[in-house]
């Protein structure tokens, strides 16, 4: 499977994603520089974490207009698999590929810790190797990860089963104390209606080896690989 990992000025988790895909999962990976056009010749695209364009104005607001994003938006609209992690999630929201937006953490503090995530739905290319209710453990590290959408959008997200991951405690309860940033409904990750674009604040690429404390994150990438192998992707 051929992967493209976008690199913007201020991206800082691009190398982690490349390492995870190439060294841990043996995938064919290339980076997509923000100034270059993207011709869509990949099976999957990852928008990595970081602080693209310094997070100036709003996180992800300027990356959305980078030349590479034009091709990535067309790739997504044509059904290609796009995964946005952290700042990548923010870029997907700013670009309109995902509904809602991400705002300052309710605590106003940068949060950096491991969180538990409850799988809400496994009928997506990103969660197909998980079970509903399964708990995944991954780190979060962000200052602006508070997901917000208006009530109409939230109803649509529920009706279309677009929320794939919620912050959870060890009992599998999506309660406020398990929510690191104040996200509405404890939403940690959601997909678009077409289920080919997925954004999440936690970092699956940093939960990809036992020595990093766990391998839960591999399930996200492995699900995508399984999806492509079955010929369901772009």
């Amino acid at each position: 499977m051929r992967w493209g990992v976008a690199v913007f000025p201020g991206s800082c988790d691009d190398d982690d994603v490349v390492y995870c895909l190439r060294n841990v999962l043996g995938q064919d990976v290339r980076t997509l520089w923000h100034k270059d056009a993207f011709d869509g010749s990949c099976d999957g695209v990852v928008l990595p974490g970081g602080f693209s364009f310094g997070d100036y104005l709003r996180a992800g607001a300027m990356a959305r207009f980078a030349p590479v994003m034009q091709g990535i938006i067309e790739f997504a609209q044509a059904g290609g698999l796009v995964l946005g992690i952290c700042n990548g999630f923010q870029i997907l929201c700013e670009s309109g590929l995902l509904p809602g937006t991400l705002t300052r953490n309710a605590s106003l503090r940068f949060v950096c810790r491991r969180v538990l995530l409850r799988v809400e739905d496994n009928s997506s290319p990103f969660t197909r190797l998980t079970r509903p209710g399964e708990l995944l453990e991954m780190p979060v590290k962000h200052g602006e990860g508070c997901y917000y959408a208006d009530s109409t959008t939230l109803t649509e997200l529920r009706d279309n089963r677009q929320v794939l991951l919620r912050y959870s405690n060890a009992k599998g309860e999506a309660c406020d104390t398990a929510n690191p940033n104040g996200s509405v409904d404890g939403i940690a990750g959601l997909c678009n209606r077409g289920r080919n674009v997925f954004g999440l604040m936690p970092h699956p690429e940093d939960a990809a080896e036992t020595m990093l404390g766990g391998v839960s994150g591999l399930k996200i990438f492995s699900s995508m690989i399984a999806e492509i192998r079955n010929g369901c992707g772009a």
């Binding site: 104005l57 207009f65 700013e94 106003l108 208006d150």
Partner: protein
């Protein structure tokens, strides 16, 4: 031509930053403060023919980049 742009949070959108400022003001003795909302202020210097053009260009900039319609409203003033 100078355009002054004000970007503010929509009603109903939580503003933890505003709450923190409100708490600080109250702890400084400004007990009269009932609510604080923090927004953004931008000054744009535009090379345009007149106020009508400045208005149209500023509106397009706000719609496309300067405000996020999911959580923000905007207004602007064209200064001579």
């Amino acid at each position: 031509m100078l355009v002054k742009v004000f970007v503010t949070l929509k009603e109903g959108v939580l503003d933890p930053q505003g709450k923190a400022v409100q708490n600080s003001l109250q702890s400084l003795g400004f007990g009269l403060v009932q609510d604080v909302r923090v927004g953004k202020y931008l000054e744009l210097q535009l090379d345009v023919a007149g106020a009508a053009d400045a208005t149209e260009q500023a509106r397009r900039m706000c719609e496309k980049l300067l405000a996020n319609p999911v959580i923000e409203d905007y207004r602007f003033e064209v200064a001579e």
